[in-house]
């Protein structure tokens, strides 16, 4: 399985500011995913980021709020824009392959917005 790292591991931010979260994989992967896990909740898919194409956002998530970049096969970023306390969550990236349908998750970024 791939080894995935995320930066930062945690952050405390002021409302109205933006934070960019980085996701780095130790091997080339086709598919990357970004999830949100609100306190005490399950994971919700924000968007799918495949290299060479625009990110596909799930219902309730928009590009202006959560812009994503996928410049190559080992790296992606998620920006949480104009943050409010409701954005306080753990943000996780994962990687997957089309055929096997397995996903492997990064350790997450714990974001607190004050």
């Amino acid at each position: 399985s791939a080894v995935i790292s995320q930066k930062p591991s945690r952050d405390i931010c002021q409302r109205g500011t933006s934070l960019t979260i980085q996701c780095q994989v130790d091997s080339q992967v086709t598919m990357m995913f970004w999830y949100r896990q609100q306190p005490g909740q399950s994971l919700t898919l924000i968007a799918t980021a495949n290299q060479g194409s625009e990110a596909t956002y799930e219902s309730g998530f928009v590009i202006d709020k959560f812009p994503i970049s996928r410049p190559n096969l080992t790296f992606s970023t998620l920006t949480v824009s104009n943050m409010s306390p409701e954005d306080s969550s753990i943000y996780l990236c994962s990687v997957g392959e089309q055929l096997r349908r397995e996903q492997y998750f990064g350790p997450g970024t714990r974001l607190t917005v004050t």
């Binding site: 598919m31 909740q41 919700t44 898919l45 596909t56 996780l92 349908r101 397995e102 998750f105």
Partner: protein, 116 residues
Amino acid sequence: AQSVTQLDSHVSVSEGTPVLLRCNYSSSYSPSLFWYVQHPNKGLQLLLKYTSAATLVKGINGFEAEFKKSETSFHLTKPSAHMSDAAEYFCVVSDTALGGTYKYIFGTGTRLKVLA
């Protein structure tokens, strides 16, 4: 659209006793199903997966799950619980997405507590 339902939000067992975490799925075709575990303040780890091969799937750490199409279930079991099994467990179904790709649909999770 596919979905999964985890029937118990919390399960408590004594150390050394069997574990049963229940998951039912809804799918219009043969699904791919997964169980993931999340230990406190750690990322998610894949326990096992079902992808239309053997209906009894063995995973890591002594866990296994049985796919029962007639019952639309994919329950996770372990014969003997260990203190280190205390964690949050997620049942996941893989759904087809745009462009022929796929995405995960997560269940709401079951928190397993193991009593000494």
